[in-house]
Amino acid sequence: MKIDNSLPLEYSTEENRLKILGFWIFLAAEIALFATLFATYFAYQGRTGNGPGTEIFEITPVLINTFALLTSSFTIGLAVNAMRLGNKKAMLTFLGLTLALGLVFLGVEIKEFFTFVHEGATIQTSGYLSILFSTLGTHGAHVSLGFFWGLFIIIQVSKYGLTPHTANKAFIFSLYWHFLDVVWIFIFSFVYLKGMM
């Protein structure tokens, strides 16, 4: 394995560079996935049948979630920065913080789902609610998966240290996490804000 020391650790081998490009292409596919969900969401707006519509939204949990996820995007940026400086401890701390914020997000979202269901808005109620739950749920599932992925990276970095391999993983994970944040901004604007206006 040839290691090019002039580049950051996560880019230092050919394999690592391939993985980063591959992941960008994967993110392109993810964009296509969420674009489909959003397009479908717009098509189903107002198709509420006999069920409730956007009036089920509440602003407080959404703001908490937005805050949690935006902050976590910042902390993971700090984690990558710490990684580039070779500061393993700081990196792990920021990664841990990121995951904690992710957990807050998930907790609030799950509670929000329970409230919806309590108000008689389930995934089976109407076309609109089916796509609403699917869009939010797909994003939420991504965050959940990201949580476990991040956990494994924390374990591996603490176990094996900052190697080209672990650095590469952590960097790719940060791309993923930023992407989820961007998707959330779209959900926040086009689902929640638009719905509550």
Partner: protein, 651 residues
């Protein structure tokens, strides 16, 4: 007992029982055979756990050929039923199951793996790479496809086959109108193989972008690799969308969501929209690689460089873009109004322009050439006039007003078979014969090959041309019977006779593979066709590391220029080569995927959740394993010995 009742076939017949016995006996024979010849270890070590793109490619093609056989049997059954008016070979339910299976299998489980097989084998060799970017992901792609295909194929003996057509339009495909688990099979098996397809797309795009040989620029890629590039871009653009559509459909059926229901805010036509936003690019995902194959073969056997390289690339890119904005031409009759239909008509007809450019460029490549009629060339040449008919009828269908009279008729059936068989199937067969020596180190017999070619080329027209006429006379597609007074009888009989000839042609092709494997000579050299691109510069069959040293490329037909102008393609010294380890994890993970999908189909949620955890466990295992799995190295001495042996035998 109640638990097992769900696995019973709801509408059994003698043919289905016979298939059950057949499947059981074949499986038994395979198990006994493998045990008797002590091949389990070989199968596991050399094939199931392989991450070598060439072996994965061969497995794809093998699966595709088996699925071709299955699809062909379905087709013959359909034609047998329609041969005469008021026929009773198949009843309505079975006819519906068979034509649904024919469509899904031919497109998703025959054409797609065939494409991936050739893509896997040829692309890395044409760009001078040692493997693909992510060899293990490649194995996962294959096994996901394979499990999807197997899942779809057991449907008709376990629980019931899908019967709503390959398009599976809602509300027909909903729980209410298709209560058997058949459509669940459709949703889950396509989801699995679609996931594999998406991974392949990511893998090969990364490979083509980053693993090209020193000096090989994008605008010097062989046309086949260019076709792969645009194909994979299309895959990444539309397969996520298909995954979403399939998930919606599955959730509607399994969890009672309201996406495509009638009432409660559901929109049945949303499925048609989502399906075709994926489905139309999908047919270009099939045809663009075919265009690439034809470009390679026509240029090789016209003994000339490809005419108009730049406009060939530009036209492929144009087709790629246009293919994304024409989906509504599949339902002009939905009543979306004059304006929308006009726009989609014009966009659709516009595809004729880049396609026309390609046809003219191929003709110009033939001009001033020195044309040799080898079998791959025959298939490629037959493509031009036959596909032309498919193309011009496509333009006719693109005209929304006239389409009101063609839609849902045999005219449409004739049209898409005229595009997809000469366009895709001929190409894949041509590609298979052309690259066969590279895969296996011997050639396929030319004489037998020509017999199968002429059978297919002639009887294809006998089968499908009459359908244009019966379509214009009002014969609707997908109808299991028609009455005597419609007058469709004689032409349908001709079509059915043609189908027998067509099937015969494919059987001769299979026989050719058998015969050639046994009797064709093995010392064919590395370049039996006197071809032009890099894959012909290395030994046949290709050693595991592909290139002993990486080639240095200066033009779009590097190997040809090396031969004629005396460039040295391989100036480097042999060095140690790093290779990835084989792994059983992809296979095991995909088996778990299979179990999960199967349990969802039959609403066994706990098992589905357990499978999901199993899949994640496999991923977690890999995540840790990767820290100390560094692959292995092939030493210089070993490489030199291998090269000496392979090249020496060729002298």
């Amino acid at each position: 007992m109640e638990f097992f009742e769900r696995f019973a076939v709801p509408h059994p017949s003698f043919a289905i029982y016979a298939s059950m016995v057949g499947i059981a006996l074949t499986s038994l024979a395979i198990v006994v055979g493998l045990t008797y010849f002590k091949k389990w270890g070989y199968l596991w070590r050399e094939w199931i756990t392989t991450v070598d793109h060439k072996r994965i490619g061969i497995m794809y093609i093998l699966a595709a050929l088996i699925m071709l056989l299955r699809g062909l049997v379905d087709a013959v059954m359909l034609r047998a039923q329609l041969a005469i008016p008021d026929n009773t070979i198949l009843d309505s339910q079975h006819y519906n199951e068979v034509f649904s299976a024919h469509g899904v299998i031919m497109i998703m489980f025959m054409a797609m793996p065939f494409l991936f097989g050739l893509m896997n084998i040829v692309t890395p060799l044409q760009i001078g790479a040692r493997d693909v970017a992510f060899p293990r992901l490649n194995a996962i792609s294959f096994w996901l496809f394979f499990m999807g295909a197997m899942l779809f194929n057991i449907a008709f003996v376990v629980g019931g086959a899908p019967d709503a057509g390959w398009t599976s339009y809602f509300p027909l495909a909903s729980e209410e109108f298709s209560p058997s688990v058949g459509t669940n099979y459709y949703m889950m098996s396509l989801q699995l193989s679609g996931l594999g397809t998406l991974m392949t797309g990511i893998n090969f795009l990364t490979t083509i972008f980053r693993m090209r040989a020193p000096g090989l620029k994008l605008m010097q890629l062989p046309m086949f690799t260019w076709a792969m590039l645009v194909t994979n871009v299309l895959i990444i653009a539309v397969f996520p969308l298909f995954a979403v559509a399939l998930a919606f459909g599955a959730m509607d059926r399994m969890f009672g969501t309201q996406f495509f229901t009638i009432g409660n805010g559901g929109m049945d036509m949303m499925w048609a929209n989502l399906f075709w936003v994926w489905g139309h690019p999908e047919v270009y995902i099939l045809i663009l690689p075919a265009f690439g194959i034809y470009s390679e073969i026509i240029s090789t056997f016209a003994r000339r460089n490809l005419y108009g390289y730049k406009s060939m690339v530009a036209s492929m890119v144009a087709i790629t873009i246009l293919s994304l904005v024409v989906w509504a031409h599949h339902f002009y009759t939905m009543g979306q109004g004059v304006l929308a239909n006009s726009i989609f008509s014009i966009a659709t007809m516009a595809i004729a322009v880049p396609t026309g450019i390609k046809i003219f460029n191929w003709l110009a490549t033939l001009r001033k050439g020195k044309i040799e009629f080898t079998t791959p060339m025959l298939w490629s040449l037959a493509f031009i006039p036959t596909f032309l008919i498919g193309g011009v009828t496509g333009v006719m269908l693109a005209m929304a007003s006239a389409d009101f009279q063609y839609h849902n008729t045999m005219f449409l059936v004739a049209h898409f078979h005229y595009t997809i068989i000469p366009g895709v199937v001929y190409a894949f067969i041509a590609g298979l014969i052309y690259w066969w020596p590279k895969m296996f180190g011997f050639m396929l017999n030319e004489k037998i090959g020509k017999v199968s070619f002429w059978l297919v080329a002639i009887f294809f027209n006998v089968t499908f041309f009459p359908m244009f006429i019966t379509g214009l006379d009002g014969q609707a597609r997908r109808m299991y019977t028609y009455s005597e007074e419609t007058g469709f009888g004689p032409l349908n009989l001709i079509a059915s006779i043609g189908a027998i000839g067509l099937a015969l042609g494919f059987i001769v092709l299979a026989y050719n593979i058998y015969w050639s494997t046994r009797y064709m000579p093995r010392n064919i050299g590395s370049d039996p066709w006197n071809a032009r691109s890099l894959e012909w510069s290395i030994p046949s069959p290709v050693p595991v590391y592909n290139f002993a040293t990486l080639p240095h490329v200066k033009s779009s037909q590097a190997f040809w220029d090396a031969k004629t102008k005396g460039h040295n393609l391989f100036p480097d010294k042999v060095e140690e080569i790093h290779m990835p380890n084989n792994s059983g994890v992809p296979f095991i993970m995909c088996v778990i995927f299979f179990i999960g999908a199967f349990s969802l189909i039959f609403d066994m949620i706990p098992l589905a959740i357990a499978s999901l955890i199993g899949v994640f466990a496999c991923m977690a295992y890999r995540s840790f394993e990767a820290n100390h799995d560094h692959g292995y190295h092939i030493h210089v001495k070993e490489i030199e010995e291998t090269e000496e042996r392979l090249r020496g035998a060729n002298k």
